[in-house]
Structures are given as structure tokens and as C-alpha cells.
Symmetry: C2
Subunit: 417 residues, 2 copies
């Protein structure tokens, strides 16, 4: 048995059904590796020694690659001085000053550990601010695993009673949702673009974003942008800067400390009083190591061309993929911002094509995702893109050769349906 198989079997015993959450590989092709021993730049080494170019960046946690020496150096230095303690490191204040200086709408910050903490505090603060309960979220959007925004077994109807769904980018649907909330609207939540799993990604319509802002201004509700996944991958500001709309609150996480655990809720003056009345705390929320790492990350974000670079790399990948798909006669849809690409195949309702293609890519040393958006790292190079396209050429050929014998994965087919 390979090391990978042994570890999977051991994990099956000591976790409820193996590795859970977004790092479960139950819905991935069988040859996907789950266990790794090292990572550097955009490359991860599996326990069986195989090296992969990683297009997931730990699901968006790092923007500057794995093991960035300058960022990790700042982390270790701070961690050794004071990481968690009965008090606060000055770096926490510095970081809040820096973030509120960068993100236009933000006047204050609350640092937390999970993206879910940030979105949930957003909901609580909006409810405390308005003394109302209804929260509008787009159908299918993921805002964390907390009960107010989840339909998981173990959550109750009552816990999510405040949620009203609308259709992303559909102004009429948003108007109807606001009407449905009556005089009880606390917040409108929005992701920067529609980045749900399994579907073509949808860029935000500026008219929709503006209407959400207007409706909040009219009703006194708060507008919350959930930038946990997309933050700093679209703009050097809250992502809705790209459509000219400022929220009252924004939720951040993932890459702000380049992989070190740190999330944040940012808010404006209007929301400050409510934010100071709500009760919240976390054992590790004041950990200063990740904050020092975040200061270096933010310097990089503000003072380098990382954004233009990942856009250039993402465009090169997109163009190369389009050419290859065309050459092989395969209908490939590439959606979402070029820095957060989603690849889906035409006539592939149960994702059997994407599944097989990704499996062929992994076989060729490129780790892509068949049904979740990917992330372009600033540590990627044009050579890496070239190597990726070479792998893709082979993967397309194998996909075409497999032709009609392709079978769906039953679990994924069920999820797609």
C-alpha cells in the first residue's frame, strides 16, 4: 500500500469519515493526492514524492506562494517575541491602521480566525445596528458554515429563519427580497462575484451592486461584501471597488497573511457603535505572528505589481487553454476573473469530462480543481504556465481518446443534480 493509501486509511479511522471539509478528496478523481510533505512557491510534494504545480494556493490562502521567506521571517520573529499572550502586541494596532488605510470603506477592524467568524460577526453587527433580523443572501452563495447561512444537518429552521434568498445580479429579484423583508431588513450580503462551486462564475453587474447600496441606504440596512475568498485577488481595495460600490462591512480571510491564520471584519463609522455592543472573542484572535506576516503581505500588495502580474499570468493561462481546447475540438468554458479561473466543459452536466480531464492533469503533475474556482499565485511563472499547457495538451488528448466510455463519478453526479 502506498503512503498515501495508508494515511487515507488511518484518517478514515480517526476522523468522522476521513479528512473533512474542503480538503476532503471524496468528490475528487481517485488519483488525487491528499497528503503532502512539503510545499514551496507553487509546488507541493506529495507523500509519495510526486511534485505538483498547485492551482489552488491552499484554496486561496496564499497569494505569494508557499514558504515565502520574507513573510515567514516576519512571522517567526514576531511569534518568538509574543504570539499569543495575556495582552496584545503593538503589531495588532499597526495592522488595523494599515488595513483601514488600504480598504476605502473601512474605519475599524476586528481580527478573527475563520472566514466564518468574519461573516457571522457581520450578520450580528448588522442585526445589532438595525435591531432587525432579515438578511438577504444570493441563492447558492457560501458565507461560511455557521447556522445563519447554512442548511447543514444539525442546524435548525429557526436559526436560519432570518435568511431571504435572491438571485445574484438580478435587480428585480433583489427588490423583491427587500420587499419581502418588509421593515425587518438588517443586511444585504454579497460575494464580489458569483463564485459558487460547480457552475460558471458570474462577474458582478455594476447596476446590481449599486442597487444593493441604494436599498441599504434607503432602508438603513448594512451592505456586507464577503471578500473572504476574493480579497486582494481583484483589487487593492475591497473587491467591489471594481464596480464602484462601497459596503458598510467587509469580511476578509484567506490570503491577508499569505497562509498564516488570520481573518478580519472591516467596518465603517456607521457600524462602529453596533460593533462595540456585540459580544465576541476567540482564544487565538490576538495571535500576533500572523499579523506581522500580514504587514509584509500588505506591503507587497500595495508596493509591487503582483495584481497586474497575476492578471497577466491568468490571461496567458486562459489564452493558452482556449487555443488547446479549440485545437482538440473540446468545448471548454473559462469563467470568473482571470486570477480566479473556473474551467468547466460543454455538455458535461455530471462533470464527467472535467473530472477526467483534471485526473489527467494530476497524472501530469498539475493540481487543478474540477468544480471549484482556482487561484493564480504571484509565485507562478510563465515557465510554469508553459509546463501547465504542455500537460493540458496531453490531458485534452486523453479526454478525447476516452470519448464515449467516460463514466460519471456517482457522488459528484448526485451533487451536480
Amino acid at each position: 500500500m502506498s503512503d498515501e493509501e495508508t494515511l487515507k486509511r488511518r484518517a478514515q479511522a480517526v476522523f468522522p469519515r476521513g479528512i473533512y471539509g474542503h480538503l476532503s478528496t471524496r468528490l475528487m478523481p481517485e488519483n488525487y493526492p491528499q497528503f503532502f510533505t512539503s510545499a514551496k512557491g507553487v509546488r507541493m510534494t506529495g507523500v509519495d514524492g510526486k511534485v505538483y504545480i498547485d492551482y489552488m494556493c491552499a484554496f486561496g490562502l496564499n497569494l505569494f506562494g508557499y514558504g515565502d521567506e520574507e513573510i515567514n521571517g516576519a512571522f517567526v520573529k514576531q511569534m518568538l517575541a509574543t504570539d499569543t499572550l495575556t495582552g496584545v502586541s503593538p503589531v495588532m494596532v499597526e495592522l488595523a491602521e494599515r488595513l483601514t488605510g488600504i480598504v476605502t470603506h473601512a474605519d475599524w477592524a476586528i481580527f478573527v480566525k475563520n472566514g466564518t467568524d468574519a461573516t457571522t460577526l457581520g450578520a450580528m453587527i448588522a442585526r445589532a445596528h438595525t435591531k432587525r433580523e432579515k438578511i438577504i443572501v444570493a441563492e447558492g452563495a457560501y458565507h461560511g458554515f455557521a447556522a445563519w447561512s447554512s442548511a447543514s444537518p444539525g442546524t435548525t429552521e429557526a436559526e436560519r429563519a432570518g435568511r431571504i434568498a435572491c438571485t445574484y445580479n438580478d435587480v428585480d429579484s433583489l427588490d423583491r427580497a427587500v420587499a419581502r423583508a418588509g421593515d425587518d431588513l438588517a443586511a444585504i450580503f454579497a460575494t464580489p462575484f458569483k463564485h459558487d462551486i460547480l457552475i460558471d462564475q458570474i462577474e458582478p453587474d455594476a447596476a446590481y451592486a449599486r442597487r444593493a447600496r441604494e436599498l441599504c441606504d434607503k432602508t438603513g440596512a448594512l451592505l456586507v461584501v464577503d471578500d473572504v475568498r476574493a480579497g486582494f485577488k481583484l483589487a487593492r481595495d475591497c473587491s467591489w471597488a471594481t464596480v464602484g460600490v462601497e459596503p458598510d462591512l467587509s469580511a476578509w480571510g484567506k490570503c491577508i497573511a499569505n497562509g498564516h491564520p488570520l481573518s478580519a471584519l472591516l467596518g465603517n463609522e456607521k457600524a462602529r457603535r453596533a460593533a462595540s455592543r456585540v459580544s465576541y472573542t476567540g482564544s487565538f484572535w490576538f495571535q500576533s505572528g500572523p499579523m506581522a506576516a500580514a504587514l509584509v503581505t500588505l506591503d507587497r500588495i500595495m508596493n509591487t505589481g503582483y495584481l497586474e502580474n497575476i492578471q497577466t499570468l491568468g490571461r496567458a493561462l486562459r489564452d493558452g487553454m482556449a487555443t488547446l481546447a479549440d485545437r482538440h475540438g473540446v468545448g471548454l468554458r473559462q469563467t470568473g476573473p482571470v486570477t480566479m479561473p473556473m474551467f468547466l466543459f460543454d455538455d458535461d452536466p455530471d462533470h464527467r469530462k472535467g473530472y477526467r480531464w483534471c485526473s489527467e492533469m494530476v497524472e501530469r503533475g498539475v493540481y487543478m480543481h474540477p468544480f471549484h474556482n482556482m487561484f493564480i499565485s504571484n509565485a507562478l511563472t510563465m515557465d510554469d504556465v508553459g509546463q501547465t499547457l504542455e500537460a493540458a495538451d496531453g490531458a485534452f488528448r486523453a479526454l478525447v481518446a476516452a470519448g464515449p466510455e467516460l463514466a460519471p463519478n456517482t457522488r459528484l453526479a448526485a451533487l451536480s443534480a
Copy 2:
């Protein structure tokens, strides 16, 4: 203006109302420092250069002191290899095997970041397991900031509709709460002892713990011990091992990685199926650095006399304090396990005495808490206890001298009332 005052003022601007949560000093005596530049063993150095013996251990996050070189060494080594990535490090499996080997009732683990994540997953899994909604918690107990267990502004009545209160250690009250739940009981939650703020701590009555177990067995509900604060400070197992009762689920956090951010929910076979059906994930939950730190911490817990040592140190502190209080004619109540002591003063309903005494202790370089339980670190020495008692001698003298001019802190008095 001192560095401390400057930082407090800056924090006031960029956080909703200064540093929040359990590290806010709004309810602490005015001379309490909030900002620190370094920490080692049991000593923290404030931004103004003053050194304090810390009896809070970062609110229980470290058991082996700040900056433990062996634990931090394991952390850094793992962090540099793989910390967060698109996959899992083998150390995650090792740690789950180790923890489920140590904690008698546990067959599986879910690693998370906050104590609140662990308790909330406990509630969700109990609800999914039973397909019922009612959760019994003891009046006044803290199980995290999530809406199901909080009465904070911004939470809704509906979100906490499932909660039923009982009185800790009162079997009749527990029976009545179960009767009130009817056929809808999902879980009984319990802290290992009653460690609420502002009150004398109450050790668990074995009859109460056994009755909770019986009632869960009878109704099919799950028994959940919230060991986030007390874990490994009372036993080398779940803390209710001290009263001979095994829960179905236990929530862990704080010290399992000696200050590195890691929490966990542990569960038994009975709860496994439900745990595998509930949806949960977190961006940083798979971070491997803290897991490597936890492995060293657990080795220390299982293979050294740390527990007997902190009990001996705690007893020496308790005995010394009792002698001093007596000598100064001050009524001091020391409650809770000796490893997690609470000091409260007789005839002190608004905590003005405790407040002043702690203020005198901080003046003398000892950081104690006027209304929250404290923590004895294994890095503390008998010399440190001696230094503490010397400070306490002066603090008691100053308290007695202040006599009738003592004034209450208005905020704390309001909270006490």
C-alpha cells in the same frame, strides 16, 4: 504620553472601541498594561519595559510557559515544510491518533481554530444525531460567542430558542430541564467545573455528572463536556474523568498546542455518523504547524509530572495566600481547582476590594485577574510563588490601609449587579 497610553489611544480609533473581547482592559484596574513586546516562561514585558509574572497564561493557552523552545522548534520546522496547503500533512493524522488514544471517550477528532467552533460543532452534531433541537446548558456558563449559546446584541431569540437552562450541580434542576425538553432533547452541555466569571468557582458534584450521563443514555441525547478552558489542567484525559463520567463529545482548545492556534472536537463511535453528515470547514483548520506543536505538548502531558507539579505550585500559592490574608485580617476566598484558582474577597459585592488588590499586585509586577479564574503554568517555580507572595503581602497591606475610601469601578459594579 507613555507608549501604553499612545497604543491604547490608537487602538481606540481602529477597533470598534479599543481592544475587544477577553483582552479588553475596560473592566480592569487603570494601571493594567494591555500591550507587551515579549514574553518568556511566565514573564511578560510591557511596552513600557516593566516585567510581570503572568497568572493568566494567555487565558489558559499555554501550560508550559511562553516561548517553549522545544514546542516552538517543532512548530517552526513543520510550518516551514507545510503549514497551510491544498492538502493535509501526515501530522494531522498522527495528532488525531494521539488525542483519541489519550482521551478515553474519543474515537475521532475534528480540528478547528476557535473554542467556539468546537462547542458549536458539538451542538450541531448532537442535533444531527438526535434530529432534535433542545440543548441544556447551565445558567451562566460560557460556551463561546455563537448565537446558539449567546445572548449578545445581534443574536436573535429564534437562534437561541433551543437552549434550556439548568443550575450547575443541581440534579433536580437538571431533571426539570430534561422534562421541559420533552421528546426534543439533543444534548446536555457541561463545563468540567463551574468556572463562570465574577463568582466563586464550584467543583463538579459526581452525582450531577452521573445524572447527566444517565439522562442522556435514557433519552438518546449526547453529553458534551466543554473542556476548552480546563482541558489537561485537571486530568490527563477529559476533565470529567475526575468524577468518573465519560461524555459522548468533548470540546477542546486553549492549551493543546501550548499557545499555537488549535482547537478540537472529540467524539465517540455513537456520534460518528452524525459528525460525518454535518457540513463544516475552515480556511485554516488544517494548518499543520500547531499540530506538530500539539504532538510535543501531548508528549509532555503524558510523560512528565507537569500535572502534579502545577498542583503542587497551585497549592503552595493557595496556602501562602491564605496565611497572608489571615495575617492581614482580610477575608479571601480561594475557589476552583488549585491549578485554576479564583480569588474573591469577602463582603465585596461590587468587587472593589479585589479590584484594588489586583491593582496593587500589578504595581508589584504580578499580573492577576480580579474576576476571572487564573491558570498555573508548569513554567512557574517555587521562587516565582515566593515573589508573588511577597507582592501579595504588600498588596494586602495597601488594601487594608485604603480601608473605607475604596471606591468601586462603575463598569465592574454594573456587571457584578
